[in-house]
Amino acid sequence: MKVVEINDVFRTYHDTEVEVKAVNGVTLSFEKGDFAVIVGPSGSGKTTLLNLIGGLDQPTGGEIIVAGHRLSELRPSELIDFRMEHVGFVFQSYNLIPVLTAEENVGFILSLQKWPKEKRKARTQEMLSAVGLSDRHKSRPSQLSGGQQQRVAVARALAARPEFILADEPTANLDSKSAETLLDIMVKLNKDEKMTFIFSTHDIRVMKRARRVITLEDGRVVSDEKVNHR
């Protein structure tokens, strides 16, 4: 089942005097249960592509269909709701609301979706234990390590059962051990919950764990390979 379809998508920036084709004719699709990474040199368009898929940005050409929604047809406020319902985001850093506890951060989207309190609590606990942080549910982000914060972010992204999770260089600020722990958790969630993950990364450790590696260069897909682990 196709979760994301990208048809001949362009994203051009005219901000400076030169025109930058950040995404230059990309056609791709992602299946449910994918664990895909997008790699490529700096400036190759990874972040731009992820923003387009997540409905944070609009293509200047082509079309993106996510879970049956043509993103170009959604109004700005509908796009926000679309993201709340269908996309889980994990950013490189500064993912969490500093004044909320880990538990409240994980439950944040659930409360935006108006989940009843009991259900929300149960789901939050479930997610926190899935990322191995049940005992830190009362901690504020400032009291957590960078790796723990990223795990809370993954738990939040997953809590509302989105269509897929977009993560732009989620391990970039982490040491090896924290990065491995985070990857273990994501691989497990991908297996257990059939959750679709789409990453961008420079991190060789992430590439090693991926089952699909898409390589971008100058805004174009130059390779798209399935990887079989053992």
Binding site: L56, I80, R83, N95, I97, V99, L100, E104, I109
Partner: protein
């Protein structure tokens, strides 16, 4: 997580900034309220002074008297009209008054004065001149004797400053001399012994007596028991002259009045000016003194009066004073405006800083699905809370000060008091109890907040998520 919970937590993430911002609002509100209270309280006192010592709340006059205040525009008191006016539910008494100019002389000094003729027994129901009788006076002799008593603190020095001053009550004497409350009991008997001023007052039966203002008394060097010569022009050009023994001296607080004040019985004044049965005005004393009731009373009585007579309110009669106060009021409002402008910039600075600091966070929140409206609501609530915190603290902080300042008006001591008196003001700064002016301060702060909130709401709606995330 409710919006207000998030707002409340955000409030305390930068505790110091929140407190500084709230504190700046607090100080603005606090000082503005105290300033207003003093200012409005002072006006109120001035108005009360002219009303009680001179104009009353309402006056019955000849229609032309206000434009040309002379004897030619006087009228004959008609007992029928008077009793019909007294029948009005809001009227308690009608007190005829004959008022004109004269030249007063005692010894070699002369002064143009204002002669007021009224029934002294009746006067108390409309004006309050009797309470202005001088009871204590720091004559040079009294000052010498008091200094010999070795009084504590600054009092001996202050005695020199206030030599020859007069006082209508003990309270002002004590405070002006800087006497400590704890010493009052000890010193009061001494003050009474040396400074009590033997003063008298008119009765309706008196003929040939006058009560004069303390300023006039000083100027013409005439005191109780001295003879005052009045000369002027009576009704229809008759000449007016008379001799009066000064029976009492009053302190009329408004210096323009005090320096020219001569009070006779109504009969003496009518005789002096050859105007039997006449009055230049009649003070109508009333129960309810607010503007609405005064106007209603005036309008009710209109039909009783006929064409020649009108009723004037104190505001009509004191238009000049009201104008002056209005001008002063404007300059006060400008001061407060500047105060608030400074605060507005402070609040705006906080808002700008807060919005810049949290741009990334806002980008993240909108990315993960928080509607911009909801975000804007949370931020607005945050700022409203800071503002209201400041306003509430300012109002709460000012209340005890204002109530204290009302119950125990600030009285100046020493040189400061002397300066006030020399400029013709009572050295007293009464405060006005909370009134609509309180509401205005709150409204102004809310308006400032509203502008700041509108600014940040606009910022939120214009937020470009991608740029915010890259920041």
């Amino acid at each position: 997580m409710k919006d207000y919970q998030l707002a409340w937590r955000n409030l305390w993430r930068n505790r110091r900034r929140t407190l500084i911002t709230a504190a700046s609002v607090f100080f603005a509100v606090f000082f503005a309220l105290i300033m207003r209270s003093f200012q409005l309280g002072t006006y109120e006192k001035m108005y009360r002074d002219v009303i009680e010592s001179y104009s009353g709340y309402l006056q019955l006059q000849h229609v032309d008297y206000m434009d040309e205040s002379n004897l030619d525009n006087s009228f004959v008191i008609d007992p029928g009209i008077i009793s019909r006016i007294e029948d009005d539910p809001n009227v308690t008494a009608v007190i005829p008054k004959l008022e004109s100019f004269a030249l007063a002389a005692a010894g070699s000094r002369t002064q143009a004065v204002m002669v007021i003729g009224m029934d002294p027994d009746n006067e108390i129901r409309g004006l309050n001149i009797r309470n202005r009788l001088i009871r204590y006076r720091l004559t040079p002799g009294a000052v010498e004797s008091l200094k010999a008593e070795n009084l504590p603190g600054l009092t001996p020095k202050l005695l020199d400053v206030f030599v020859n001053e007069s006082f209508t009550d003990e309270e002002s004497l004590i405070s002006i001399l800087g006497i400590d409350r704890s010493d009052t009991l000890k010193i009061l008997p001494l003050l009474r012994k040396y400074t009590v001023f033997d003063n008298g007052y008119l009765t309706a039966a008196d003929t040939g007596f006058a009560v004069i203002g303390s300023g006039l008394s000083e100027y013409i060097h005439a005191g109780v028991g001295d003879t005052l010569v009045l000369m002027g022009q009576g009704f229809h050009g008759a000449s007016a002259a008379g001799l009066y023994v000064i029976k009492g001296i009053v302190n009329m607080s408004q210096p323009e009045i005090d320096n020219r004040f001569v009070y006779l019985t109504l009969d003496d004044a009518r005789y002096l000016y050859a105007a039997p049965g006449m009055a230049t005005s009649a003070i109508i004393s009333v129960r309810e003194t607010d503007d609405d009731n005064l106007l209603m009373t005036r309008d009710r009585l209109r039909e009783v009066l006929g064409d020649d007579l009108v009723i004037r309110t104190w505001k009509e009669m004191n238009a000049l004073l009201l104008n002056q106060m209005e001008a002063d009021n404007k300059s006060g409002a400008i001061m407060i405006g500047i105060l608030y402008l400074v605060i507005a910039f402070g609040v705006f600075g906080t808002v700008l800083m807060m919005m810049a600091e949290r741009r990334r966070e806002f980008g993240m929140l909108v990315s993960i699905g928080m509607r911009k409206g909801k975000l804007a609501r949370t931020i607005s609530m945050e700022m409203l809370l800071i503002g209201l915190l400041g306003v509430a603290a300012g109002v709460a902080g000012s209340l005890p000060v204002v109530f204290l300042g009302y119950a125990r008006p600030l009285r100046f001591t020493g040189e400061m008091a002397k300066m006030y008196e020399d400029y013709g003001f009572d050295p007293v700064m009464p405060m006005l109890l909370p009134d609509t002016y309180y509401l205005w301060q709150v409204v102004i702060v809310l308006l400032i907040l509203l502008v700041a909130i509108a600014f940040s709401v606009r910022k939120v709606f214009k937020l470009n998520v991608i740029n915010a995330l890259r920041a």
